[in-house]
Symmetry: C2
DNA sequence: TGAGTTTAGAGAGTTTGTATCATGTTGAAT
DNA sequence: ATTCAACATGATACAAACTCTCTAAACTCA
C-alpha cells in the first residue's frame, strides 16, 4: 500500500464511521492534488495511474461518499455529460463561470456566515457546506461582445 | 403549431439573436410548468407528450442554450447520472439539499446584490445569474441522527 | 421569389455510471 | 498477535444518458 498523507479529511472519514481503505485514501489524495476542479474521467485516469488495482466502481463510490460528506460537490462547467467535482476546502467554494468561454474564476469571500446561521435557526437544519456559482461573461468575453456589437 | 405564452424568456431569446422555433417554445413552456425543478428524462417525456414531432437532440440543444442564457442551471440532486435543471426566475435560485434524504428546501433571500456588484467592479465581469446551494441535514434527518446516536 | 443561414429530426454510436456477486480488507475485541 | 464479522472492493456485463452526423425544413432578408 502506497504512502498517504493522513490529513483532516481522512480523519473526518473515519469519524463518520467509514473505513480508511486504500481506494478511498488514493482517491482522496488525487482529489487533493487536482487543484480544486476535476472531472470523473480525469479522476479515473489519475487514480488508475496511481494504483492500477483500483476499480472503476470504487472511484464512483468514493465520489458519492465524498459528496455526501461535503468534501466535494459536482457541478456542470463545460457540458451536460460529465460533472466537474470541486473541492470544498472549508466546506464551501465559490466561482464565476463564463457562459461564453467556460472559464472559471474563483473567489474567496462570500459573506454567507450570517445567512447560514439564520437558515439553520429558522429551518432547523444543520448545514455543512455551500457552493456559490455566478454566471455571466468574463472580462475577455465582455470586450469581444462589445467589439462585435460595434461593427 | 400549438399556442405559446410569449413571456419575457421568449423575448430574451429573440433579443439574443435566436429564432423562436416551435421546439424552443415548447421546451420553454414545459420548463415553466415544471415548478422549478426537472430532470432531462422528465423533460423529454413531457415535451414528447406535448408534441411528439420534437426530437431528442433538440431538447438537449435547448437545455444547452437556456443554460447559456441563465434561464436554467443544471445541478445534481439525487444521483450522479441525471442533473436536475432548476429555473432561475430572476436570474438566481437558492436551495438547501439534504445529504441524507436528498430533500430540497428552497428559500428566497440571499443578500448577494452587494457581492454581485463588488465582483463585477473588481473583476470586470458581467454577471447574469447565480445559484446558491447549501448542503447538510434537513430537520427530519437531524432528528433521526440524534435518535440513532442515543441508542 | 430565391439564396443563404439557422435549426430541426432521426437514429446509430459513444460515453458515463450502475448492479451484482464472489473475494478481500479493515478495525476491534479477544 | 489472532480472529471474526461487517464493510468495502474489483471485474464485468448492463443500462442510461447524451452527442454526432447528415439531410431536410423553416425562416430571413434582399
Amino acid at each position: 500500500m502506497p504512502d498517504h498523507a493522513h490529513g483532516s479529511r481522512a480523519d473526518r472519514l473515519r469519524d463518520a464511521g467509514y473505513k480508511l481503505t486504500n481506494a478511498r485514501l488514493t482517491v482522496l489524495q488525487v482529489l487533493e492534488q487536482s487543484g480544486g476542479h476535476i472531472t470523473s474521467t480525469e479522476l479515473l485516469e489519475r487514480v488508475s495511474a496511481a494504483d492500477p488495482a483500483i476499480g472503476r466502481a470504487s472511484v464512483f463510490r468514493c465520489l458519492d461518499l465524498f459528496t455526501r460528506l461535503s468534501f466535494i460537490r459536482p457541478t456542470y462547467i463545460d457540458n451536460n455529460v460529465t460533472p466537474t467535482y470541486v473541492l470544498m476546502p472549508d466546506g464551501h467554494h465559490h466561482h464565476i463561470i463564463c457562459n461564453a468561454c467556460n472559464r472559471v474564476i474563483e473567489f474567496e469571500e462570500c459573506h454567507l456566515e450570517a445567512l447560514t446561521k439564520e437558515l439553520e435557526e429558522r429551518l432547523h437544519v444543520k448545514l455543512t457546506g455551500h457552493l456559490l456559482e455566478f454566471y455571466g461573461l468574463c472580462e475577455n468575453c465582455c470586450i469581444e461582445k462589445a467589439v462585435t456589437a460595434d461593427e
